[in-house]
């Protein structure tokens, strides 16, 4: 199973631990991953609101490069995943836009036909690798570890291609395959604060705080997430939350980190030490 990997900015920066754990897990379950050659910024939501056509061309360039190799492209960052998917939909539905973008790409020696699929690593693990194979590969089941599986918004909205929009379950199933238990909680796709943590902190911090408080209240030992922005908002602002609301002190990890531990990979390979709130104790103590 061969795939192209689109890191985006986060996985090379604040989400370094996501990249490390994703690549390690992919290798452990037998996925052949190659980083997309000469990739560029996906444009995120910011560029889209400045100049739509150009932002589609920018994101489209990544798709066009992937098309040359005719492989599915894995985008672990939820924002990249959404933007690349959105670009594909827009170019499919809007003839005029597609003409403009293809023209721009052709000027750069590229072409766009819309043939590659943009995938989330969770989708690939569940649907290509399969839970049966993962269960068989688990070496150290994470007994007694209770998690709150948090999906964020962008993986399921608006393109709920492999899970439910309101009540996604695939990550819960994957974590259960790793031996952990997922607590029932209804905030799976509730806002993490997004960029409001930086721009309107009084709103953003409150949104992030509610998630942490609820996860803790329901008996989880950590939040497990699959988006670098969610992870950063929940993990990185806990000092400010302590000043504003209460001390939370609650680890927030990537699903690939938890899965990696169950597959027998080391904490350092999975970048577990990179979290601001230490997760090692909760995760290793549980083992």
């Amino acid at each position: 199973m061969k795939y192209l990997y689109f890191p985006g900015c986060s996985l090379k920066g604040s989400g370094k631990a996501y990249e490390e754990s994703f690549l390690a897990v992919a290798k452990a379950v037998g996925l052949e991953i190659r980083e997309l050659e000469d990739w560029n910024c996906c444009g995120a939501t910011a560029y889209m609101s400045v100049d739509e056509t150009r932002s589609y061309a920018l994101a489209g360039r990544n798709l066009a490069i992937a098309e040359r190799e005719n492989l599915d492209i894995i985008a672990p960052c939820n924002a990249c995943y959404l933007v690349l998917n959105k670009t594909q939909h827009a170019l499919k539905d809007d003839e005029e836009l597609r003409r403009k973008v293809v023209k721009a790409l052709k000027a750069g020696g590229l072409d766009y036909k819309g043939t590659v699929r943009v995938r989330h690593p969770l989708d690939v693990l569940i649907n290509d690798v399969g839970l049966d194979k993962i269960r068989a590969l688990v070496k150290k089941p994470l007994k007694d570890l209770k998690l709150a599986a948090y999906y964020g918004c962008q993986m399921v909205r608006p393109y709920a291609s492999f899970d439910d929009q309101h009540d996604p379950v695939t990550m819960d199933k994957l974590m259960e395959a790793a031996g952990a238990e997922c607590v029932p909680w209804p905030l799976k796709t509730r806002c993490c604060g997004g960029s409001l943590t930086g721009t309107v902190p009084e709103a953003g911090l409150r949104l992030a705080y509610i998630l942490l408080r609820e996860a803790k209240k329901r008996g989880a030992g950590a939040i497990v997430t699959l988006c670098p922005l969610c992870q950063f908002n929940l993990d990185g602002y806990q000092d400010q939350m302590a000043r504003k609301f209460e001390k939370v002190d609650f680890p927030v990890v990537y699903f690939t980190q938890v899965l990696g531990l169950a597959l027998g990979l080391s904490a350092s390979e999975l970048g577990i030490q990179r979290g601001i709130i230490p997760a090692g104790k909760v995760l290793s103590g549980a083992r």
Binding site: D167, W185, P186, L187, I210, E214
Partner: protein
């Protein structure tokens, strides 16, 4: 009437009439010019124009001309044949001419209404008229066939629609067989405690009708039965009905229910479908005390005797009428009927399809049908409104339009939910004293005394919040939300987002076609609309008829509707069936196809193409045979026949080619 042979050199004498239709035609087409032009065409003996051809004087004019001018053919250029073909056929007959020696030209819908250029429209009208004159000369004399109608009727579905239709027909002296899939008749209405807007007791008005069905000398009631096969045609249907085994002899059981007490299961422990799973039942059971017929049945999925053959059968031992028969088998029965009323009802939307409302996840979330059972005095809690853990709710939120008016599920309004939500709000408040919140998009109360009922509820202190609830969740933002279900909604009147904590959530699920509606429509050879409800022949003028003659629809199988509308429609369907039966025969249009036997090569191409299953294959002669009674004259077989051996009356080659030649020969 006149014979088909024509004198070789003399063309039949054609009378041509062009209608002004007030200014509808004459405003755009120069009718005088058309009249003058046609008078010069070969064979035309009379050509006239008249203000309204369809009026009595217009028809009289035609009849008189036929006699005076010895006309042998008739052409009328006017509106659509859908509107007045029959009118002018009658006028021809009145003049003594075979009504099929007539051709109609539609110069209104096809010319005057769709064009503005008067000259071009007039030319087009002339072309069309010329084609018809050329065609009509080849018409042959045809007769309508009559087939007798069997006076017996089948009603499928024993909800209030089927019950009402069956009783109406039986009271008119017709023999009716009522077939119901479940073990009892009563349908959804039997689940309800009260009915809106009068709040009269549903059982009190329904059960007398149920027992009337059971005791009516003209009604044969087959419950726990399903229609397997339908053959035949209008007036003459042969129906095969599957009767599922109850393992209890229906003629012996009197419904004393002593067997239920005696069952080896001391406690009722299996899901009670009738009570929407809120109660439990034993393997031997009866749905509710007034079930009709009042006969117990045994569930083969849970009965030890039926599953393993090793039970001491204390139920059978307790029956002093020896009604138990564990060897009972499924039976197939055949029926002959002239008409069929389909009243197969609806199913409610599966609330689990909206995961944001938490049905199945939070025990405090209920469907409206579950609440119907909870507020019902004969329900699992004897009318007490309690949560699944037995607690009484202090606050209840009713969410309207679940599975209705929603782009993501069903786009239609289910019509009954606003009103039943109001009813449930009233009953919940009355039974539990809880605060009740209604979350609605629009309040739809368009029926007799419905708006007044809404007004009454407003006065009762029920809260109304206009907005579609986005989610039901169990996480608390404030201390007073702890342990509650919280509804998040944009209050579109107040203009802000509310969080409303409650103990119980009621999902007002919409109405959907039955799961097997498509199979049923194929079995009865009728149609379904895009949303899956049965298709009526005309939305306004033939709402209980279908495109298959002799098959009528009533109730929510056609579209969501409430009890008053359902009963009205059931009465209408019964009346339509009666008018068919009491006529004693049906007249068939002669535009049917027939096989020229000596030319048929027996390739069977036509057999599977016929949408009405009118073509069979005679294996001894190796020829296709068309049943003229079933044939609707669609012409598919005639067009497909590779040897040209299928001929359709009024559309044979000579007629069509001469029409084409006529339109092209300017």
């Amino acid at each position: 009437m006149s014979d088909n042979k024509q004198k070789k050199d003399a063309l039949p004498r054609v009378g041509f009439y062009v209608c002004h239709c007030g200014t509808n035609i004459a405003g755009t087409i120069d009718v005088a010019e058309v009249q003058k032009y046609v008078s010069g065409l070969p064979g035309v003996a009379v050509s006239r124009d008249y203000k309204y051809m369809c009026s009595d004087p217009g028809q009289e004019l035609i009849a008189r001309d036929i006699k005076e001018h010895k006309l042998e053919r008739l052409v009328v250029a006017a509106c659509s044949p859908n509107l007045h073909e029959e009118t002018f056929r009658k006028a021809a007959a009145k003049g003594g001419l075979n009504p099929f020696y007539f051709q109609m030209v539609n110069i209104r819908e096809h010319a005057s209404w769709v064009h503005t250029d008067k000259k071009a429209a007039t030319e087009k009208a002339k072309d069309l008229a010329r084609a018809a004159v050329a065609r009509v000369q080849h018409h042959r004399s045809l007769d309508k066939k009559r087939v007798p109608v069997d006076p017996n009727v089948l009603v499928v579905g024993g909800g209030i629609a089927g019950i009402h239709a069956a009783l109406t027909l039986a009271n008119a002296g017709k023999k009716v067989t009522l077939v119901e899939r479940e073990a009892t008749i009563g349908g959804h209405m039997a689940l309800f405690d009260k009915t809106f807007p009068t709040l009269d007791c549903a059982a009190c008005i329904l059960t007398p009708k149920m027992s009337a069905v059971k005791s009516h000398p003209n009604i044969t009631l087959w419950t726990y039965s399903e229609v397997e096969k339908v053959e035949g045609y209008v007036g003459n249907y042969k129906v095969t009905v599957k009767r599922k085994p109850r393992f209890v002899k229906e003629d012996l059981c009197v419904g004393c229910m002593e067997c239920i007490d005696a069952c080896v299961f001391k406690e009722a422990k299996f899901r009670d479908k009738f009570n929407q799973g809120l109660g439990k039942r034993k393997p031997v059971y009866i749905d509710f005390p007034q079930a009709t017929p009042k006969v117990v049945l045994v569930d083969p999925e849970t009965c030890i005797q039926l599953k393993t053959g090793k039970c001491k059968k204390s139920c059978a031992a307790a029956c002093d009428r020896n009604a138990f028969d564990f060897d009972q088998k499924e039976e197939l029965k055949e029926l002959q009927v002239g008409a069929i009323v389909l009243a197969t009802g609806f199913k409610t939307y599966d609330a689990g399809r909206d995961p944001n409302y938490g049905y199945g996840r939070y025990p405090g979330v209920f469907t409206a049908l579950e609440i119907e059972r909870l507020v019902n005095a004969s329900g699992p809690t004897s009318g007490e409104v309690v949560l699944r853990d037995g607690r009484r709710p202090k606050a209840v939120g009713i969410i309207h339009c679940v599975g209705s008016r929603d782009e993501k599920s069903n786009k239609w309004c289910s019509r009954v939910c606003c009103m039943y939500s109001l009813k449930l709000a009233h009953l919940i408040k009355e039974h539990s004293g809880a605060e009740v919140y209604n979350f609605y998009i629009d309040m739809r109360a368009p029926g007799k005394a419905y708006e007044e009922f809404y007004d009454k509820l407003l006065g009762e202190g029920v809260h109304f919040i206009r907005g579609r609830v986005s989610e039901v969740s169990d996480w608390a933002m404030t201390p007073d939300e702890e342990g509650k279900l919280v509804l998040r909604v944009e209050d579109t009147l107040a203009g802000f987002v509310r969080r409303v904590p409650v103990d119980m959530v009621v999902l007002s699920t919409g109405l959907e076609p039955q799961t097997d509606a498509q199979e049923v429509r194929r079995r009865f050879n009728i149609g379904c609309g895009t949303e899956g409800f049965f298709q009526e022949r005309h939305p306004k003028l033939a709402p209980v008829n279908t495109f298959t003659d002799g098959i009528y629809i009533a109730g929510a199988c056609q579209a969501p509707r409430d009890i008053p509308d359902t009963v009205a429609q059931a009465g209408a369907a019964a009346a339509e069936a009666l008018s068919l039966i009491d006529a004693g025969f049906v007249e068939l249009e002669p535009n049917t196809s027939h096989v020229l036997e000596e030319e048929c090569c027996g390739c069977k191409s036509c057999v599977p193409l016929c949408p009405y299953s009118a073509i069979t294959f005679d294996e001894t002669k190796k020829k296709a045979v068309i049943n003229e009674v079933l044939c609707k004259g669609c012409g598919v077989c005639a067009a497909a026949c590779p040897s040209g051996s299928i001929v359709q009356n009024l559309f044979d080659d000579e007629e069509i080619f001469s029409e084409i030649k006529g339109v092209l020969s300017k």
